[in-house]
Subunit: 220 residues, 8 copies
Amino acid sequence: MSIHRDIKLDFERRQRMGLDEAILASGKSVAHLEAILDQATTADARFLLTRLAREQFEALPGKYRARIDYDELSRTAYFGEPEPAKAETRTAVIAAGTSDVNVVREISRTLAWYGEPSLEVTDVGLAGIWRLLERLEEIRHMPVVIVVAGMDAALPTVVGGLVPGVVIGCPTSVGYGVATGGNAALNAMLSSCASGLLVTNIDNGFGAACAALRVLRSLR
Amino acid sequence: MSIHRDIKLDFERRQRMGLDEAILASGKSVAHLEAILDQATTADARFLLTRLAREQFEALPGKYRARIDYDELSRTAYFGEPEPAKAETRTAVIAAGTSDVNVVREISRTLAWYGEPSLEVTDVGLAGIWRLLERLEEIRHMPVVIVVAGMDAALPTVVGGLVPGVVIGCPTSVGYGVATGGNAALNAMLSSCASGLLVTNIDNGFGAACAALRVLRSLR
Amino acid sequence: MSIHRDIKLDFERRQRMGLDEAILASGKSVAHLEAILDQATTADARFLLTRLAREQFEALPGKYRARIDYDELSRTAYFGEPEPAKAETRTAVIAAGTSDVNVVREISRTLAWYGEPSLEVTDVGLAGIWRLLERLEEIRHMPVVIVVAGMDAALPTVVGGLVPGVVIGCPTSVGYGVATGGNAALNAMLSSCASGLLVTNIDNGFGAACAALRVLRSLR
Amino acid sequence: MSIHRDIKLDFERRQRMGLDEAILASGKSVAHLEAILDQATTADARFLLTRLAREQFEALPGKYRARIDYDELSRTAYFGEPEPAKAETRTAVIAAGTSDVNVVREISRTLAWYGEPSLEVTDVGLAGIWRLLERLEEIRHMPVVIVVAGMDAALPTVVGGLVPGVVIGCPTSVGYGVATGGNAALNAMLSSCASGLLVTNIDNGFGAACAALRVLRSLR
Amino acid sequence: MSIHRDIKLDFERRQRMGLDEAILASGKSVAHLEAILDQATTADARFLLTRLAREQFEALPGKYRARIDYDELSRTAYFGEPEPAKAETRTAVIAAGTSDVNVVREISRTLAWYGEPSLEVTDVGLAGIWRLLERLEEIRHMPVVIVVAGMDAALPTVVGGLVPGVVIGCPTSVGYGVATGGNAALNAMLSSCASGLLVTNIDNGFGAACAALRVLRSLR
Amino acid sequence: MSIHRDIKLDFERRQRMGLDEAILASGKSVAHLEAILDQATTADARFLLTRLAREQFEALPGKYRARIDYDELSRTAYFGEPEPAKAETRTAVIAAGTSDVNVVREISRTLAWYGEPSLEVTDVGLAGIWRLLERLEEIRHMPVVIVVAGMDAALPTVVGGLVPGVVIGCPTSVGYGVATGGNAALNAMLSSCASGLLVTNIDNGFGAACAALRVLRSLR
Amino acid sequence: MSIHRDIKLDFERRQRMGLDEAILASGKSVAHLEAILDQATTADARFLLTRLAREQFEALPGKYRARIDYDELSRTAYFGEPEPAKAETRTAVIAAGTSDVNVVREISRTLAWYGEPSLEVTDVGLAGIWRLLERLEEIRHMPVVIVVAGMDAALPTVVGGLVPGVVIGCPTSVGYGVATGGNAALNAMLSSCASGLLVTNIDNGFGAACAALRVLRSLR
Amino acid sequence: MSIHRDIKLDFERRQRMGLDEAILASGKSVAHLEAILDQATTADARFLLTRLAREQFEALPGKYRARIDYDELSRTAYFGEPEPAKAETRTAVIAAGTSDVNVVREISRTLAWYGEPSLEVTDVGLAGIWRLLERLEEIRHMPVVIVVAGMDAALPTVVGGLVPGVVIGCPTSVGYGVATGGNAALNAMLSSCASGLLVTNIDNGFGAACAALRVLRSLR
């Protein structure tokens, strides 16, 4: 049976609810990915791919690799051109340390695909809270602040008490022992005493960016 | 030791980040609640109380009960006057069934405290999906849609795929067996395949409303 | 000690309760698998093997590989001929997306081994509910509908509310964060508000197919 | 706000997918239940109520209590007349011991509401397997066998290996220590080595009966 | 059988490892408690009782109640005189809010039993981080800082990064949803990115105080 | 620092409580294993090694490999001679299927090291209960019956109701979905309704054998 | 429907596998208990009842109360005479502290029902290990030692390393925080480094006693 | 984007709260590690690296490898010179067996980096409690005792009852079945009946050492 039979892309999603369908590459075989790119090419469609491992990328045919802007750190790929960047930066993406940079970059690359520039602020872990306070002025006036954190995920609570905008917590799976897999970070965010903190699934940088886009579109 | 010594209200929170401090009544003794109301009275402050059980409310001194607008279903209490209601309804609060109405009402009462009217839509469970589709036009143009759901919490995924605005999932603890306590609903929402769905803690209607307020303030 | 000593196949199971013994290959050494095929050959028996990895299949002796119809996607193998296909398709196997196609195929290949044709409907995820509604007429009159879903597993609830037949939910381990391993999907299905939805273990496509066969045999 | 506003019964469900809406009483206030019965009376509708505690039943107005056939053990209530009983018994409901009788009765009462007689077999625990074997002839030819079990839930596996019909496992929350709440029973059923065993949520006798009805309707 | 037979107090524990045996009252019958107080009286011993509910206290014979200094908030009781208070305060006990005051008081009362005064700082929740910073000078030079926190338990991480002394995190069971029972707080503390933070069991104020005493004795 | 410094074998354990120290090889480096074998050689001691992977065995020096009787299936190794086999077989080791044979063999090899012959009965899964009943006479008179089972672990309950001797349940990690890792099997055994069933940790064949030895020594 | 219909006692269990059926009273209504006692009276049978709450006992008819030897601490009841006590004490039942005395007593009362005297040793908690060492000579020569422990359950490991007989760990639900419900104690016992320690479900004193009886019968 | 942009080391941490920032190498790419070492070199800083795998170490440029004192067992690396060793040994680090030696060494290497010598005592498992008692005199007078334990983690309870100093439990992930990942050990330590036992995350030897340093600095 042809693998193309199993695939049915949703090219009208943006018309319907404002976001393109993106392709989650993890768990898909190279044959599946090729079939998807074939369909997109036929439909003259652009695409964002997420969680595309280097091995998957390198196994794609050269004709497709050439049309893809691939970033290994975030495992994101642009098939086609991103939207032109807007002038104003309206989203901050902040993290406690370098271990979470891959998720931070997945968020900023997803936002950039939709033309939204973002401010990345990494290494503001609470073990040295002055690092966060030094950057506060830059962050405070953003309509959306995404906080990426693993381990004890204390950062979103502090940020949520300091900024008035929409605050989105994105827990990561970084950690060991009870922090393994990110549940400690997720539960800390869900239990936060900062009012109105919202949360995504663990490591779901793509989802955090889409949520930001839902907010930002309302502002236009 | 006086109980007043342990309490330090945060009357400047609105100036700092736009939301008043609210009082979570559950787990507080009546003596604690009285001390808080004493302080608020002295400071001439208004307050929203959440999770105030009828027994707690009725145990308060008459002078305070008289100044409180109490709603048993949502366990919310207004100490002082809410803000005047805005003209435009910008938030829909929807639920699958009557079991979740208490959380729906906590959300709408919190929004109303800040002058935000909301549209309550209950009993649109997916076991009869036509009920949701009939109401879709009303919901679709809201900048914020809050979906309250227990059990399998399938509703936010369907809504998230149909509306372009900010979608906030608020899981509830309604259910039995594997749904006991709301974790099945929470995890279903966090795993949703609808892009950009954001989630609060279980039964955290107050938090969902605060998040909505963070979004709505950006629109002004 | 000979490995043959440890194996005792159940060639009379079909006489007793209507289904042949199938061999779960995962966790078995190649020596074990060979011993099983030796016994089956001696007894002139036919067999379905499930969860047979490509590496296991390729390590079998050529004489056995030649007699096996192996499908890598579903990891199923027919040792001997399947039953002749019946004329009528009485089972639909539906899934939200291509990530679950391997389990869908395990189900349809197991049904086909017993001569039951099935209708595969993939990529009807709820993020675009119109895709499901377009296919509803095909599905609605089937006596058995098997819904394969990972992540938030909202699809079985919607299907269960739309079709009158037996609905079997088969959760998959596809997902990350709180969806890792498939427990979120499993719990969502068990908590479904669609009346009479039945559930199998995670990734248990074989079990879902056997359950369908138990139903279909009653209809004859 | 009137409580009637929050309620919207689904009187057309049977036309659509063959089962009436039933009312889950647990977690509903008496005011909610009254409003539901008012609506049903107005619509001249019949209803099955499940998980109706004695205290809830007794708090209903006399005019409604008089029209209700209430069974305390199963916490089920018939509002209106059940369908006339069919001549043939096509479902066995079996359990290991008296601790699970309340769930067994919920199943048989739900089936009886739809006119399906059932055979209750209790006290066939595996600690004395001869008790099950003595009853096997009665059970073996039923198209549907529902096995209710708590604790280690070994019974469905044994039954599943002995009967050819549809076997539905309904785990119960009976037990202590690691069996508390019924998860041990649920997981044992989901992991059963009996092919094609299907499972419901813990204590979901109503769901097990509805699933049986989905099967039995196919046979007509 | 006499209940006295089952009890064997450890009057030499202080000689051996520096702390008296304390009596955990929860789960003990009044008869058990009386038997313990009888033995202590005979041996002319002093005792600290923890988790003594008001009902238990009030059910004791008058002769014992008269000799007990009981504090309902912390559920601690002194049977006999505490050690004379030392001049220097060497321990700070801090908490995010009034919900944790009962555990804070259990700690300070346990320390006071051993003659160690402590500084209680409550209501320094991170949602308003300036409250903590205002109190920092008082806390910073203490050799031991105990941080009591429920919910997301972000406070110990911030404190651990600001003070050089021994920092002990004592999680509490305050919270709902994923914070129920205190596991989210416990796991956040164990995962803290503040180096050298140590943790006790949930609600174990007595244990946190004992650990402080182990440190403080080294300083003498 | 020499690795020998970290190792201190317990050569007097048999004198003290009747069982030799055994070496758990998993997690130990080859250097550690060599140091242990050096010490044992110097002390002229015999040893049982458990969970010794083939890679570990093959990395040992030839002089030690030559003195070791290694069994790959059970990952056990005899360093030195086992005790002479007793005449009477007093232990049955039974399992539902071939997937658990490795644990069965670990048990029988451990018993054989102490001179206790055992009867292995595999492939008596409950999906075909007649297989167990056929073997019952052999098993019933053994003073010790060890039942090895993964998945739903229903077998020990049935056996426990049929035999009067000591019944030890040894759960295995065989399984997928909710059975992953063996917790479903463990919990089913702990919840068993067969009176007096005792349980070991998951995959702890060595422990089950040691427990059997504790019983058998009492009989001498 | 008569409640007697649901009950089928197993009066031949002792003939079959050596232990009488015992009645687990928890979760049974008084009507159920009466029906059981009626049947037993008719059959002239003796019975052990476990987990019989004082309220249940007191609600029984006077004619049955008069024939029952009830012990509130252990919640056990003898309906009829226990077997005559044997001369030799062959079982020690030991516990760390008075909180576990109820389970200790359930064990000794169950053993006494079968004529087996036992030695109770309570209050030998490891926080003062000399208390255990003082009693070691009494314990060491028993063929069966049952160790009852909650919290961290370290006692069975120490005992298992000191005595050569059969050691049975019975975890209890005593504890708070992570020890709530007894899972910490259970898991510590299952993970014990003492070879051949066997474990029962949490609070399953009856099961521990039955296991001891299985061992002791082999010795006769 | 340059990787250096994401990194911001905290060279003033020692001035602020007495401990240098250490680098957790696990999860960092070699490029990240190089960038960190570049920055440290520029700032003329010394560093401790933890959880540095041999593969990571060997992939570093030769110029950096030459300046690093690497220990494979503990996965720690000194970049620069450790502080001169103090004369007095004030910390004991003890473990039940050789499986935990890697964590023991991580602790002693971290302490040595700060000039604190420590006494390692391994292989004092409780299955032979005399091994611990033999070493007690050496351990008893240390102001800090760190107990490293996996599996059932009974050792810290026994030690906590025998020594008056600060006792820190460091659970390890060594174990299988219910002990997998170290949660059984962690929970046993948190539930310990030894008063004032403090606990770190699983495998967090670095954290245990930092906590010891917080205590030891108070003594100066």
